[in-house]
Symmetry: C2
Subunit: 138 residues, 2 copies
DNA sequence: GTTCCTGCAAAAGCTTTGCAGAAGA
DNA sequence: TCTTCTGCAAAGCTTTTGCAGGAAC
């Protein structure tokens, strides 16, 4: 399960991340939209409500949240980093037609690599590509 | 198993990919160096032997090989596409200390995603991150 | 002789950096 | 008050594009 908003804010305080209006807006967007947005998508979505918002601040905020382990960066396509606030184990599916990314549940602990016995593994990633049901119908 | 060089060249001919000197050099590099190089690494390695080689040609060649399904592009880190000529099922491990990428065997067919029943899945990717044994010793 | 490829220069796209003014604690 | 954040402009990187000359077939 996701941590509560309060826990999140406490964690931010502990890590000396100031809760500016812009940062709260980015965080709110990530919590309300589990669609693995790019920095650009976040910027475009928030720009209407916060006209002075700059892309620099979006990047700044996202990098701070990644460093604080609150969001995870997602690299499926080149030159397109997406951001994910879900903390439970899951894989990602990207539709090559519409570009949408959805989560799917997968047990990452069960993923064993016998070839990597002397390696220290800190991060496991799984992503699939293909066509989503919506695009298959067209 | 990897296909033989002859099979590769036949496949290139079938797909109307001309066997220029530069392209053969890039292909040779990929076959001899299963280290998942970036375009830049390939360029730097071949530049000595083929002084007139341009990065544009390296990119052009890699894109042609990807389109022909002869090499696979690998996106682990943002703004750093790597290229892989191994065709058998495998995952990738990237050392966050030295940056090296190594293969490990994994059964991708066994990776099932129950949440994606109505999805058409064309591509499965697994990558781990951590520290390799060499860097752990330092 | 066609068609496609090469390589230069320039451009495009995402992300980072420098810095002065503004806002959070 | 002190520290950090914002947002503009500019720069940094990887990758792509336009195009004239050259190579493959």
């Amino acid at each position: 399960m996701n941590s509560s908003i309060k826990d999140l804010l406490d964690e931010l305080k502990n890590k000396n991340i100031r809760l500016s209006h812009q940062r709260l807006k980015v965080l709110e967007y990530l919590i309300l939209n589990h669609c693995h947005p790019t920095a650009d998508q976040i910027y475009n979505a928030l720009h209407k409500d916060v006209p002075t918002l700059s892309k620099t601040t979006v990047y700044n905020t996202l990098n701070a949240l990644v460093k604080a382990n609150i969001v995870r960066p997602l690299n499926i396509e080149n030159a397109e980093t997406r951001y994910d606030i879900n903390t439970f184990d899951h894989g990602h599916f990207k539709c090559e037609s519409c570009g949408d990314v959805v989560d799917f549940s997968i047990n990452l602990d069960a993923l064993k690599a016998n070839d990597l016995n002397n390696y220290e593994i800190t991060d496991k990633n799984v992503y699939f590509k293909g066509i989503c049901p919506k695009c298959l119908q067209i």
